[in-house]
């Protein structure tokens, strides 16, 4: 195989047709990092073996939880990996990372854009909370993210209720589940509170008003309405 990127594809659909891709899918799903370091290249790159002398070089980006098949060769040709490493072409590029983002969007339901999909639902949830100060209203955004919203009651007279608004994104924390990315939290804050003026929202350092309180895994957004 040449060093240039091949056509992007769905690995599951084609892994049965290519021995190296099959090994990549099976082995790196079980052991993302790998076991045998590739010699004479820069970085923690691991070899991938398949029948017929096919060889691959892989790298596990733990932070982004993705394994890259960086290069492939036939006939035990490791020199190709060494050459690409020396030229600075072995590790993933920014376009490769953007591909990861696009691929993950494509895997999602709906339009592939979670934030756009839930924007109307999120704004409606806050409207409901504003109509019922002191009551916690709940919805599951995009059928995935339980979200609670409450308007804090700080002053009540016959005609007026004042108070900040809190939203808790109740993202389940369990082993193997990564926390909500900061950017996604900001995206959701912006669509939950479309009427908030810039600077009036804060994320993460607040306790959701009683009775819910703050729970592990919650990300709390506060809208200062003062």
């Amino acid at each position: 195989m040449e060093g240039e990127a091949g056509p992007a594809f769905d690995l599951d659909a084609v892994k049965g047709r290519n021995k190296l891709l099959g090994r990549f899918a099976d082995q790196r799903a079980a052991n993302p990092r790998g076991t045998e370091l590739t010699q004479h290249v820069t970085g923690e790159i691991y070899n991938l073996h398949a029948q017929g002398g096919l060889r691959g070089a892989t790298w596990f980006d733990e932070g982004h939880y993705v394994v890259f098949l960086l290069a492939a060769s036939s006939e035990h040709d490791y020199d190709r990996f060494v050459d690409r490493s020396a030229a600075g072409l072995l590790l993933p590029s920014r376009r490769d990372y953007q591909d990861v983002t696009q691929h993950r969007h494509a895997l999602a339901q709906g339009t592939g854009d979670f934030v756009e999909d839930v924007a109307d639902q999120a704004a409606e949830l806050v409207k409901r909370a504003l109509a019922e100060p002191g009551q916690v209203v709940t919805d599951i955004l995009g059928q995935e993210l339980p979200t609670h919203v409450v308007v804090e009651v700080v002053a009540v007279d016959v005609e007026n209720v004042e108070g900040d608004v809190y939203a808790a994104l109740s993202y389940e924390q369990r082993a193997g589940v990564r926390p909500l990315p900061d950017d996604l939290t900001s995206d959701l804050a912006a669509v939950l509170f479309p009427d908030a003026v810039p600077g009036s929202l804060e994320i993460g350092h607040h306790r959701f008003p009683m009775p819910r309180g703050r729970r592990p895994g919650d990300v709390v957004i506060r809208w200062f309405r003062g």
Partner: protein
């Protein structure tokens, strides 16, 4: 639509619209069908009729048609068949390609084009905004340009994240041995 099995070979449906006038020339008239496992099945009349029905419905395309749909040369189509990116079903002496495989690559190409567009929005050394700054940028974008402007801000942030991730990959992978 249900899958359709001929002697152990799974033909997955898609069923793009048939293109009248293009399939007649590639109807299978006699011979054999080579399955994925390499075994060859003689084509009796019933099997022949079933295969031709699938061809007529546009389930398979020729390498020539695939090259047109994908915008690549025929040798590239053959190369992708050999590497497994495109399927290959021998019908007689023709190397037919499941239409689903072609459609999948067309979609992948569109995704890559989108990646290129978003990647080009920022410089290679771009830094993503911190969480608070990003939120304020989104809110300001909403005020000035509505959802469309918010989307532009989000794409720039994505591109900056990708650029930062690539830089970090070189730092982390390069310094860890």
């Amino acid at each position: 639509m249900d899958d359709f099995v001929i002697h152990g070979f799974m033909m997955s449906p898609p069923a793009p619209a048939a293109r009248p006038g293009t399939f007649q020339s590639r109807l299978v008239r006699a011979g054999s069908l080579t399955l994925d496992d390499g075994s060859v099945v003689p084509m009796d009349d019933v099997l022949l009729a079933l295969v031709n029905a699938r061809l007529s419905a546009g389930w398979y395309v020729t390498p020539e048609e695939a090259s047109q749909l994908l915008g690549v040369s025929r040798p590239t189509v053959y190369k992708w068949q050999e590497s497994g990116s495109l399927g290959c079903v021998m019908m007689g002496n023709r190397r037919m390609i499941p239409r689903t495989d072609v459609d999948r690559l067309v979609a992948a190409a569109a995704t890559r084009a989108e990646s290129d567009r978003i990647t080009a929005l920022v410089e290679e050394d771009a830094e993503p905004l911190d969480q608070t700054s990003y939120l304020v940028a989104l809110q300001e974008a909403r005020q000035t340009g509505g959802p469309a402007e918010m989307k532009r801000v989000r794409e720039r942030q994505q591109a900056a994240r990708a650029a930062a991730a690539a830089r970090r990959a070189h730092e982390v992978a390069g310094s860890s041995r």
